[in-house]
Symmetry: C2
Subunit: 159 residues, 2 copies
DNA sequence: GATAAAGTACTCGGATACGTCGTGTCCGAGTGGACATGG
DNA sequence: CCATGTCCACTCGGACACGACGTATCCGAGTACTTTATC
């Protein structure tokens, strides 16, 4: 089970956009994190398609958060990049083979599917409990307020 | 994020082995679930390598549970098939680029990594709380005691 | 009839191709600002 | 000095190759049972 590596980039970008007061181009976000600009663009497009960030076209365009940071959860970002469908998919093998369970007895998911779904929902609940604003607060707590201020200044520098 | 499809097979096989009183060959488990025998063998080898099931070689050989079902958790099976490392891997991009965080300030994981790890541990806790014995009980509760009895009889049939 | 040894059929185990999805990249469409020009 | 039209540079958006991992398969090593020949 491997999550897309772009999720990490997307989450960092979301936190960074918290400090921005103007649209930030994908190129600038890429050079800031020292990652591939072309590939990061793909992730940002996914975030835009999910309605988490808004794209501003034109000369001084870029990306900005579409909602207040407190209303964007980590789960939103993860699902936008990595897909919303659960990792475990039940193929109903209980209905196959010589000892197949008759379909009329399969009104509810099989116990294995239930257990996996419960774990998946626990995971989602933990991610939904954390917002981008929370992460920004944690960053300030870890590294001090100067980091966010310096970040804001760097983002405002002319290209 | 996509989990290996073999996890479903492995979990079903583990529950089935609960009812077996003699070693069950991989071929028999495969035809029971109507899946590829060659591929299922791979999964069972992984379970054997993890010490969850024991392989008995020779004429009347096969696989049997290495421990009581109550001492094998769903998490054990998932980790044996899908790997024990978490889905999210932090690549420490905070230490890269022009605004890189100095290494001496990185004693603890970054907030994003912490949030993802917390979610991952919630997922693992939910899986660790379910044992193979619990799943077998749920099966009996869903489909009645006859299913397990019939399963036991079918497994005891001559090849 | 009992014993022992050889043969056999069945099992697991690891090494080997194929397909699919993630990774990484590129170029085209669209838009806002900047500039030169005329009034 | 101000309005206006044109131009241009910069942005996003989707379409295109490459590579790695999961999927599916095969054949070889090892072992317990079966059979048979002998005492």
């Amino acid at each position: 089970m491997k999550m897309s590596g772009g999720v990490e980039w997307a989450l960092h970008c979301a936190v960074v956009l918290t400090a921005a007061e103007r649209p930030v181009p994908a190129t600038r976000l890429a050079e800031m994190h020292d990652v591939s600009g072309s590939y990061l663009a793909k992730q940002l497009q996914a975030l835009s398609r999910a309605g988490l960030i808004r794209s501003v076209q034109g000369h001084a365009g870029g990306y900005e958060l579409a909602r207040p940071p407190a209303e964007i959860t980590a789960l939103d970002v993860v699902e936008a990049i990595d897909g919303a469908q659960p990792a475990f998919v039940c193929t109903e093998i209980r209905q196959r083979g010589p000892l197949a369970t008759p379909p009329e007895a399969c009104s509810r998911p099989c116990p294995i599917s239930r257990a996996m779904s419960a774990a998946d929902q626990a995971w989602r609940a933990a991610l939904a409990a954390v917002t981008i604003a929370d992460l920004a607060v944690d960053v300030t707590g870890d590294y001090g307020p100067d980091v966010m201020a310096g970040l804001r200044g760097w983002l405002s520098q002319s290209a």
